[in-house]
């Protein structure tokens, strides 16, 4: 069994808030002028990570199924005169990079991951396998427009970030993965966000056959 302690947690659930409103609301959380080109997901993930006070020796694991849907839509619509800024912004790890680059905050390990029903388990396993003293697990989605209408973007905007370490003192929760021989159940990133938001315990077989337990203090 591998386990860590959840030392800090930050969640964002802005509902149907327009990206421009999110930008205005979070403007003060970022260096002056930095938010102009940031995506809604970048703003939300960046603010959530900021709540965890990132350190240089942290590792970061980032989970998202769709990533920067709005930037992707706008980039695709920019052809034939493709936008270089939207091209950069639409790449998968962009949300975390937007946040960390605005703060000039280097990190050693950064694992951007994607997937569906096994993504949560895989992201947590990646975090638990990291030798870094503290691992920041973050993720989220942003609500798409025409990609959503075609079933290839998230219907909900949300972001999460939590810090894991081997230190039990003062922990909010304990999280563990134990390999088992059993049929797994899928858990979406959105469902896991709701578990965290409601501080619900978790005890289920996930991913490729591992028991994921989340026990709150």
């Amino acid at each position: 069994m591998i386990e860590r302690y959840l030392q800090a947690l930050s969640l964002a659930d802005p509902g149907d808030e327009d990206p421009a409103v999110t930008r205005d609301r979070l403007r003060e959380r970022f260096p002056k002028g930095a938010t102009r080109r940031m995506t809604q997901l970048g703003l939300l993930v960046g603010a959530a990570l900021d709540d965890l006070k990132p350190r240089a020796d942290d590792a970061i694991v980032y989970a998202t199924g769709y990533g920067e849907s709005r930037a992707l839509e706008a980039y695709l619509d920019s052809f034939p005169g493709a936008s270089p800024t939207l091209f950069q912004t639409s790449i998968h790890p962009s949300a975390v990079q937007q946040a960390m680059i605005t703060r000039q905050h280097a990190v050693g390990e950064f694992f951007p991951m994607t997937g569906r029903g096994n993504l949560v388990a895989q992201a947590i396993q990646t975090a638990l396998l990291s030798p870094a003293p503290r691992v920041l697990v973050c993720g989220g989605e942003e609500r798409g427009t025409w990609l959503l209408e075609n079933g290839v973007a998230s219907a909900r905007t949300f972001a999460l970030a939590f810090a894991l370490s081997a230190e039990p003192a003062g922990a909010l929760a304990r999280i563990a993965l134990q390999p088992v021989e059993a049929n797994p159940e899928e858990i979406s990133l959105e469902a896991f966000f709701d578990v965290l938001a409601r501080r619900e315990p978790l005890n289920r077989i996930v991913g490729q056959g591992a028991r994921l337990t989340l026990d709150w203090s």
Binding site: I2, G65, Y66, L72, Y75, L76, D77, F79, P80, G81, A82, S83, P84, F87, Q88, I91, H92, P93, Q97, M100, I101, R103, Q104, H105, A106, V107, G108, E109, F110, F111, P112, M113, T114, G115, R116, N118, L119, Q122, Q125, T126, L129, S130, P131, A132, L147, N150, G151, V152, P179, E181, P184, G207, Q208, G209
Partner: protein, 368 residues
Amino acid sequence: MLPAAAVRLEAAGCLTALGDAVSTHSRLLRGERALSLSPVLGAEGGEAVPLALAGGRGLDETAPPNWLAQLKSLADTIPADDWGSPHRPVFVTSSNFGVGSLYAFRRTGEQAHLRYGTPSLCVDWLARELGWGSNVTTLSHACVSAHLGLLLATRTLHAGLAPRALVFTFDFISPFVTGGFHALKILNSGFPAPYADRPTGSIGLGDGAGFAVLSRERGDFTIAAQSVYNEMHHFTANRADGAGFAACLGPVKTAAVERKLWLKGHGTGTLEAGRLESSALTATFPGAPLVSWKGSLGHTLGSCGVVELALAVESIRAGRAPGTVGSAAPCFSPAVALESFSTADCDGVVCASNAFGGAHAAFLLTHD
């Protein structure tokens, strides 16, 4: 960061515009350039830029994607196992997955393209086509994606979660990505000349796919150290002092003490990154010859780490490494090998890659 523990490399293979690993290696030794000038937006035209497409396929995406047959032929060469089962994990890495299908959908309105357009839809489809189980983990970190697959697979093996793991990587170019790099002005009408000190830089883009089977016990090759580092300085530029390169190479240097090395750099053909990379590699590993193969194959994006791993393995097996095809003197460093050279006197190769956001990755490959 701490170097990951060593892991055995049981098998590796790749696919490029020059064929499989054996064919690509031999054609690189002959100095062949796979890149040719083609319209940047495929059927929609645009400036002619250097692209290297595998197997004669077209740049414009089809439904299903026209690269599936080539991926299947590559997958047929992977040692057989119950891949994707609980103890045989698969780590899929790519930068673009099937995003060219979203470009095709937006241009044509054909719904069939949507089945491959997101990373998870694309990987789920591939897993079905290749007969894998559900134990498939997907990573996407632009052009260091394949390195992350190797690192996470290594950790999975060392945690005792599996005795053997498959890292599978692919990136097939489309107008989505050619248009993006063209907009950044680094994909232009010039052919790439990695590490050449010239007035204007340029890259080429190429198709690439590859695999690596990692094992705790089996294999003649060893990935003896792995390192990653993320500058988070600028989306498309590195810190001017080269600190990011040095931070990534440091742990690999520690593991390579007393070895006689050669270096497979990232070397896309951009000027500032090429200058910083060659300077850092030369300073960290003095006297080691440095090559890049992207002047022939183009930049194979998220797949390049494993594609070039397979070519490094082939170079060691054949006893000769291809030179930096497409480049010419003067270069940023005298270490740049323009011609092929014998690997017989070397007992290790450092393979390095870089990506958007100042991401760096490197590993040390040794042979028993």
